[in-house]
Symmetry: C2
Subunit: 609 residues, 2 copies
């Protein structure tokens, strides 16, 4: 099992905050980023003692810059500075220093000189029992690829000199990590892991602002880490993530997010780790809405009009079970500031095993209060604050987790209708938390990313991603959707509305019934439908029918998505009825701007001056 | 005087919000961005009526995409879509449509075909009294430079076809705008203006997310606009700025910011505009602190310890004048949540003219309450919420704005000392507002940008910029400093502390006196000073002396910046004593992380878990 380390530069806070947060998240060690130490009033030896108290090894001191391939005077200066750093390292009790490939304006393009000077520096390190890990920065003045850094280390041929391999520097340049497996493992002194989104920008700002924890970006971290493991590397897996958002986030939370990414990566790579295996997960069991008692009637009216029936009442609590097809919605009345999607219950072959896995992924176990004769469901808190409930695939009377047994049948007959099940839930955590929430749901439930969308909505850009697994009644889809920038007091809808989307087989019929029952569906106005005709998607007559029923239409290359949307209920949730035609894979993101504008208009009379 | 227009896509809100905001800021017209119309429930004719009511001309309908250089079938489709847009334009009452150069996958690299098809499209437009403005997108599939779009328009040779010139598309590619002056003015159908920061990224995301209003970025908008004016272009100057932050900001405020940028640009280009000329502005007259009565004693102790004397008390209000050298600080006691820099008073040859200019730059005039026999100072509200006071260069008894007359001399003698004047004030508006605040101060006061810094501070990245004018006692410096991302509840210091920096000629002497007087100066700890030695900036002995006096040191290629910093007083302001050595031009940004960490430690005991 590899040791897990975290660079202090990743986190927000004072050095003591960062160290405490890393320890609390279960890291075995840290990289000390020198500026964090410089801003600390504690002497290096005191910092070392603090780490020891927290059970953290100091795995690396970083960075040493502009050391090699220098003219004699500059090299002499560099060695003088290096000696000072060695003294600090001794006080810290750390043996390995990271040496970044030179960006010095006087650095020359001469690998022999680089090797010779690194040999000299490594000899001085060895004299003090220290060692140097040489890393090719992707923007190094001359040395900017890992294989060149390795050739120089080979040529320098000193036991106190090895390479540091950083996944960002290697993968951002499109270098092939596979040949790393041929490097002798003991010459890989250190491995730093960072993922990143594909961004069309220079590698330096990309690296300094946009790195992500493994599994949250587009890089093949598994391929990289697999190659490193195959080389026989036995040192720590260490995260070095420069990210503007993480840098200002709660460090305790960010450290958990970081460590979760390593746990998931170990599993992907097939390295022995601590994560219990995932039991088979099927579709949703039910969605739980937390609804203020004042709003419960309105929610009930809407659910009924869309085709669901109130089939059960909880034996002891003001909780109602609504059902239609395979769709189950549990409406829990409690005094809450706004209605919200409080929980997602999934069906699994082994609820306890799934809950244990979630816990190992650093989600807190939640004990749900229940009477002795009520169902005892396994539950954890997801990073976005919602509850993830682990339900049996087939609830059986007599089992402790037989949750339907908590409901007394109302005797209301289930109407035949058009609702097949739950299409998806759309959650709206702050954008800062989407990467973490997404990684948790992927790692825990086995969801895969289907796509990511960015739309120019009336109050700023909105980005969304769809995670999904399974098909048909087993389809489990979670949308995470958030404003990219939302800081001002002007923009409405904080927190942004969530959506409960029902899968239906005839959206026109559902819309007709809902309207007949007096439910107001969102009307985005005539221009939207004129545009459908202008695009050539539908003819005038169909457009008129769609508009009459307030059906919104999106398309992709596989098919069509037709949906109707209710007003926002109880301040934060709307319900959709969704008909997928063909292999449409998205979640109607293109319709979000018109829908948001209509929701806004429903709330205000005239411009919100 | 050119007409001022704004594209609706710039602003946040529903279409009706955007239009109202544009009108309120004094724009003459708008570009209607089609998706804004599609999300509106109003028919195009109703939108036209709304614009007319607001006094806004609809100058452009946009965008038409993928029209030219297409195979016959695709072109037929494009013409069919175009006819639909023409119908919408007729209802809107707009005559010009923006045609973006094709990004269609079937578009061919054939300028003759492009010209031929644009001729056909222009003929159809002309039949309906409409016209087409062809624009080269910087990422057009084949046509991606303005000169190529102009050659195609020339070849197409149709009176209803001209070019649209967008400064972003032209300047982002490094194209020379000078030859634009040779294009016949009447063939330039439209001009769109946008600035942008220099960013090392692909032009498409750069354009879609990071455009800025003129004067807020790095592009030579004056050169571009001058060339357009020289060509004889007589249409509107229209802003088309895609910016993630502006897109979610209060549209009324953003529209003012937008229009201010055009007013300033007109003056720079030398085009007749509405801005009254700037009277000579000299250094600061005084800085006003708003201080809670509970904190007034502490502030007074600190100012006195740093060398200022309480020379005057206001005749009627709890306001004290502190002085040393040319530094004047007015401490106004009032019940406020935190102490803050409430106002900056500048000396000018013509206070009323400066105030009129500020008003023309859309800063609200502020009437300061005063008794009949008290000074009547001209004042406006700056965009960051602080007050800008316009004081006479030499206050003379008898003048209505003789502000020193409001203070009764205390008789306290002024001590000889080391304070020369005000070095700078550092304001900390939210980062979203820095561009606007900066443009206002530059345009109003004639400040120039000296530099911009980004530092990795303990609670996230902090970016700062220094604006300055004048030298010696006439030096006027404003620092705007903010967290780039600060959304979470974890990060402290919202609002971030402001700084009042006094210029001194011997920081060690000032530090010694302050410490002797019992004022706690910030101590960043020993590691910072070890590093100064490691860098070779100072020897061990000097480092020890600096540390003993808690002097922080920064350097640039011109000189050195030595400063001491007090604790944060009254929750939001700290005072610095600053000694500039040589031609150091910055504001000590590099020391900010250590200073912020020390400030944080002074507030909390141990880690903030």
């Amino acid at each position: 099992m590899p040791r897990h380390a975290l660079a202090t530069v990743c986190l927000s806070g004072l050095l003591e905050d960062k160290l405490a947060a890393a320890a609390a998240a279960g890291f075995d060690g840290v990289e000390i980023f020198e500026p964090d130490m410089l801003a600390s009033p504690e002497r290096p030896a005191e910092i070392a003692a603090r780490c020891a108290d927290l059970g953290l090894a100091i795995e690396l001191f970083q960075p040493v810059r502009d050391l090699e391939a220098l003219p004699p005077d500059d090299f002499a200066d560099a060695l003088r500075r290096l000696d000072r750093k060695f003294a600090v390292m001794e006080q810290l009790g750390v043996t390995t220093a990271l040496v970044c490939s030179s960006v010095h304006p006087h650095a020359v393009d001469d690998d022999d000189l680089a090797a010779e000077q690194l040999h000299v520096a490594a000899s001085r390190a060895a004299d003090r029992g220290l060692r140097l890990a040489y890393e090719a920065l992707a923007w190094g003045r001359h040395v900017d690829t890992w294989d060149r850094s390795w050739r120089i280390v080979e040529a320098a041929d000193h036991p106190a000199l090895g390479v540091c391999l950083d996944s960002f520097h290697i993968l951002s340049r499109g270098s092939d990590p596979a040949p790393i497996r041929d490097v002798p493992g003991e010459k890989i002194f250190f491995v730093q892991l960072a993922d990143a989104p594909e961004l069309a920008m220079d590698v330096l700002p990309w690296s300094r602002h946009h790195r992500l924890f493994p599994g949250q970006g587009a890089f093949d971290l598994a391929g990289f880490t697999g190659a490193v493991a195959a080389a026989g590397y036995a040192g720590p897996w260490s995260l070095e993530v420069f990210n503007d958002v993480v840098r200002q986030a709660d460090p305790w939370r960010a450290a958990r997010d970081a460590r979760r990414s390593l746990l998931a990566l170990e599993e992907t790579v097939g390295v022995a780790g601590t994560l219990p295996p995932r039991p088979p997960v099927h579709g949703p069991a039910f969605v739980e809405l937390a609804v203020d008692p004042d709003t419960a009637d309105e929610i009930g009216t809407v659910l009924h009009a869309l085709g669901l029936d109130a089939t059960g009442r909880h034996r002891t609590k003001p909780v109602t079970l609504w059902e239609a097809g395979e769709a189950r919605v549990v409406v829990s009345e409690e005094p809450v500031p706004t209605t919200s999607i409080a929980g997602l219950a999934v069906r699994t072959d082994d609820p306890e095993a799934l809950a244990r896995r979630a816990e190992a992924l650093l989600a807190p176990r939640r004990d749900l209060p229940h009477a002795a004769d009520e169902a005892d469901l396994r539950a954890v808190g997801a990073p976005d604050g919602s509850l993830l409930l682990c339900c049996p695939q087939r609830p059986e009377p007599g089992r402790a987790d037989f949750w339907p047994g908590d409901f007394v049948p109302t005797g209301v007959p289930r109407r035949p209708g058009h609702v097949a099940g739950i299409d998806h839930v759309a959650l709206t955590p702050p954008w800062d938390d989407v990467g973490e929430t997404s990684l948790f749901h992927r790692a825990c439930l086995g969801l895969e990313p289907v796509g990511e969308w960015e739309v120019a909505a009336p109050f700023g850009l909105v980005r969304s991603r769809l995670l999904a697994a399974g098909t048909g009644a087993d389809a489990l889809r979670i949308v995470l959707s958030s404003s990219v920038v939302r800081r001002g007091g002007w923009a409405p809808g904080v927190p942004a509305p969530q959506s409960l989307a029902l899968a239906v087989d005839d959206v026109l019929a559902v819309a007709r019934a809902a309207t007949a029952a007096g439910v107001r569906l969102v009307d985005v106005g005539p221009n939207h439908y004129d545009d459908l005709v202008a695009r050539g998607w539908v003819d005038e007559e169909t457009a008129a029918e769609l508009r009459a029923h307030r059906v919104l239409v999106d398309r992709d290359e596989h098919g069509e998505y037709r949906h109707v949307v209710t007003e926002v209920l109880g301040g934060r949730v709307f319900v959709e009825a969704v008909q997928r035609v063909g292999g449409y894979a998205g979640h109607g993101a293109a319709d979000a701007p018109a829908r948001m504008a209509a929701h806004r208009r429903a709330r205000v009379a005239g411009p919100a001056a």
